[in-house]
């Protein structure tokens, strides 16, 4: 996959959809493309967070440890952005992500992420917007959950 294809992939990620292509190209060029064989973990719950991943290809399981063993809570796939919480704020990984099929990702290290944000303020606005969307969605879910019974 060449840089231009990666840029196309990045543009399909909602978080980066509105960012200029040239910035995305820099993001793609400076981040490392990492391939995980099926079964390998991207990271484990409780680990310190050092990078976030944009999934370019493949499927992965989101797993949390419970007292009764592992519990698969979601699946992520192409164009999903995972692991960003742990690089935005210093918290341990909240879940484990394990490749289900061979998984191609772009790994964005914490360092790189903050450099890009400080260099290109547009990007941080986009990220803020995306996070606000998520907050809104989560709040809505909570409301529903509370009003359900």
């Amino acid at each position: 996959m060449s840089l231009n294809e990666e840029v196309e992939a990045l543009r399909s990620v909602p978080l980066f959809a509105k960012i200029e292509p040239s910035k995305l190209k820099l993001l793609a060029f400076t981040s490392e493309r990492l391939t995980f064989p099926a079964g390998q973990e991207l990271f484990h719950q409780g680990d310190p967070g050092d990078a976030a991943y944009i999934i370019l290809d493949g499927q992965a399981d989101v797993v949390v440890d419970t007292p009764h063993g592992e519990l698969s809570v979601a699946k992520v796939g192409m164009n999903d952005f995972v692991g960003e919480i742990a690089i935005l704020i210093d918290v341990p990984r909240t879940a484990t992500i394990r490749a289900e099929t061979e998984l191609t990702t772009l790994a964005i290290t914490k360092d790189l992420f903050f450099r890009l944000i400080s260099e290109f303020p547009d990007m941080s606005v986009e990220i803020m917007r995306e996070l606000a969307h998520r907050l809104e969605a989560t709040t809505a879910q909570l409301r529903e959950a509370n009003s359900a019974p």
Binding site: M1, S2, L3, N4, E6, S22, K25, L26, A28, F29, T30, E32, R33, L34, T35, F36, P37, Q40, L42, R115, E119
Partner: protein
Amino acid sequence: MEKSIYRYIIRYSMRRQVVLTIMATASFPFLYAFYELPKLIVNSAIQGKDTTFPTSVSQIQFDQVEYLWLLCGIFLGLVIINQAFKYVINVYAGITGERMLRRLRFDLYGRVLRFPLPQFRKTSSSEIVTMVTAEVEPLGGFIGDAFKLPIFQGGYLIVILAFLFVQNWYMALAAVALYPLQGYLIPKLQRRVNLLGKERVRLVRQLSDRIGETVAGVQEIHAHNTARRERADFSHRLGAIYEVRLQIYIWKFIVKFLNNTINQLGPFSFYAIGGYLAIKGELEIGTLMAAIAAHKDLAAPWKELLNFYQRQADAKIKYEQVMEQFQPVGLAEESRQLDEPDAIAPLSGEIAASNLSLIDDTGAALVEGASFMVDAAEHVAIIGGGGSGKDETTQMLARLLSPTAGTLRLGGQAADTLPEAVTGRRLAYVGSSAYMFSTTVRDNLLYGVKHLPLRDAEYDDETRQATEKWRVEAIAAGNSTDDINADWIDYDAADAPDDHALLLRIFETLKMVTLDGDIYQLGLRGSIDPATQPGLAEQFLKARAEFHTRLTDPEIAALVEGFDPEKYNDNATLGENLLFGTPIGSGFDMERLAENTYVIDLLEREGLIDVLLDTGQQIASTMTELFADLPPGHPFFEQFSFISAEDLPEYQAILTRINRDGIATLRPEERTMLLSLPFKVSPARHRLGVIDDDLQQRILKARKAFAANLPEEFRGMVELFDVNGYNAAASLQDNILFGKLAYGQARGGERVGEIIAQVIDDLGLRAAVMEVGLSFHVGNGGGRLSSAQRQKLGIARAILKRPDVLILNEATGSLDGAAQTAILAGLKQEFDGRGLIWAVHRPSMASDFDRALVMKSGRVIEQGTFEELNREGTALHDLVQAE
């Protein structure tokens, strides 16, 4: 050491000085004859005065011309004899001086080895270096001249003067009339120059001290931004040296001026007085001429003598100055360091200190009346905070420091009577930062078992003769006659009968200090010479084959892209693909392939230049697009860009020009700039999509042509990849890998490392890799190792010589917790039945020891087992609680 330089000279070179004196004296008659002869030639042979021809010499008849030939022949003979005398005397004096210089330096170095440790706080290493190297240098020359020069030159002067006085004493007297004044004035002036010279030596010594400090403290200079201050300080010192040098210069020329002027008074009096007498007929022309010739030669010895007088004063002072520095209080006896006892019994029994005290040069008591008694086979922890005196106590136990009062008995013997042959072998000491010498890991480890040459080195006839010559010369200069090339390793001390057992013992020791993994890694990154170790190279080729067999597993296959001569390696750069080998030296600098004439010629022949220029243009435009918005100096440039921030505008200009005028108009250096870019691109890593299949095929073709046409001068500069050949220029790891780590495989490097480790273990090559790791050169002061590695190596070195008592002074304080625990456990086990005295950095560590000594303010305040002492109200308890 002798108090004055003359005593030193007489003591060590009496015989040679006598020979020199005799030779000098023997030369005088010939010298006199040499001055007498011209008079005879002019007066008798040429002018024919007082001689009737034919004349007879030894009953042979000579006419006038023949007589002239005879005398001239004799004159020529005398010239040769006199010069031969000079030559022989000078060479002999030179040898004497050089031998004495060698002896002096050796003596001084020997003294440095015997300095009491506190002395090194007063004298800096750079001061010692300048004293032993530069400052004593002129002493060598002086020693050679010490007797010979005044006798030879003085005699020479007297001969010439005698000759002049015999000719005509008025004239002679006039010629030397000002000599007394000169003899009085010049040394006075010269003394001034010499004082300045001494000042210069002092300043330069301080300067070198400062340079040494700068190098040692360079971190602080960076960390505190004091470069400006350091520059000012250095400049100030240089200024002072300049002033002194300038003064020396000026005074030197004043002396020269006076000297030359006074010397010219000689010819003045010859022409005036001699000429007057000749006109009056009271002096023959030949005599006058001979007198002028003789006088011309008078200046040289006279100058030499004046000079010598100053050199002598100078040498005396310099010798005394240096000796002062090398005569510290508490200098150890030479016998203590060099005596080799008949048998060295193991140290057993009690280690008893009574009233042990140590007072430093400021009068502060570091240890004050410490008394204790432990068994030499016990494990003892010494506990105490900073200033408790535990550091100094361990150093006194190891006999590194001598107590200022009190007694220390080691196994029934007074410690101060024991030679280093005992304390340095039966005891071992490791402080908190072990020093590593600038040699291999192996040599550093074995440093503790190399006390004396045990087995002669093997020589062939030629080298044996050379060695014997060296030895004879070393004896003549009073140097060490031990052969540095002999085998010094004491296998018995390491409890290893042979090299193989020693190696196993080293591995065991390294494991004990948790350094085996590090050495293995160093080994993997090291290399072997297949020419000297063909068997081993073969083994690693097998490992390569085995590794690549395992790569057929698709899981692993993705991790490595092997080198295949027929395939373009996506994980390697274009440069690496073209070279397809490991560069040796700077012939093929990977960063500057576009400047290499052979590479460019090759690309030209292969018709690749235009394609690569195009590719370069694409890369340049991508880079300018990506990085143009970033401020210069942004870390991304360093990390990711092919183009540095400084070069970016230039590339932008090039691109603009290409768009406007076409690529053909570029200047040669601009073409080189563009061409340099594609060489750095690897398709897998950079994903720029600029190296398409067609280009790859053409590079493969060029790769073959590169290898086939490699000119003679470039042969040794690249080792081409060959799947069946060991690559001497690459590391062991790269030889096994024989390919590139695939880019972008999660934990790829780690997983490949594991597979390589498996292959190495399966083939039984671990020991071989470790051995390569042992030949890793640790750099200056061990700088190529981490401080933890140095410390572990220091502990391993002490274990390896199997001391009866191992003394440690916070030796694991700087290591991580896991290593501390492992080493403590390992040492406890290894030294079961032998002594272990450990000044611990954490009081709780003492719980593992048989006995604990608690020190405070230089005294032992509690002693007993840890359990006994660790209860409410004891100092130990407080220390443990405070931990």
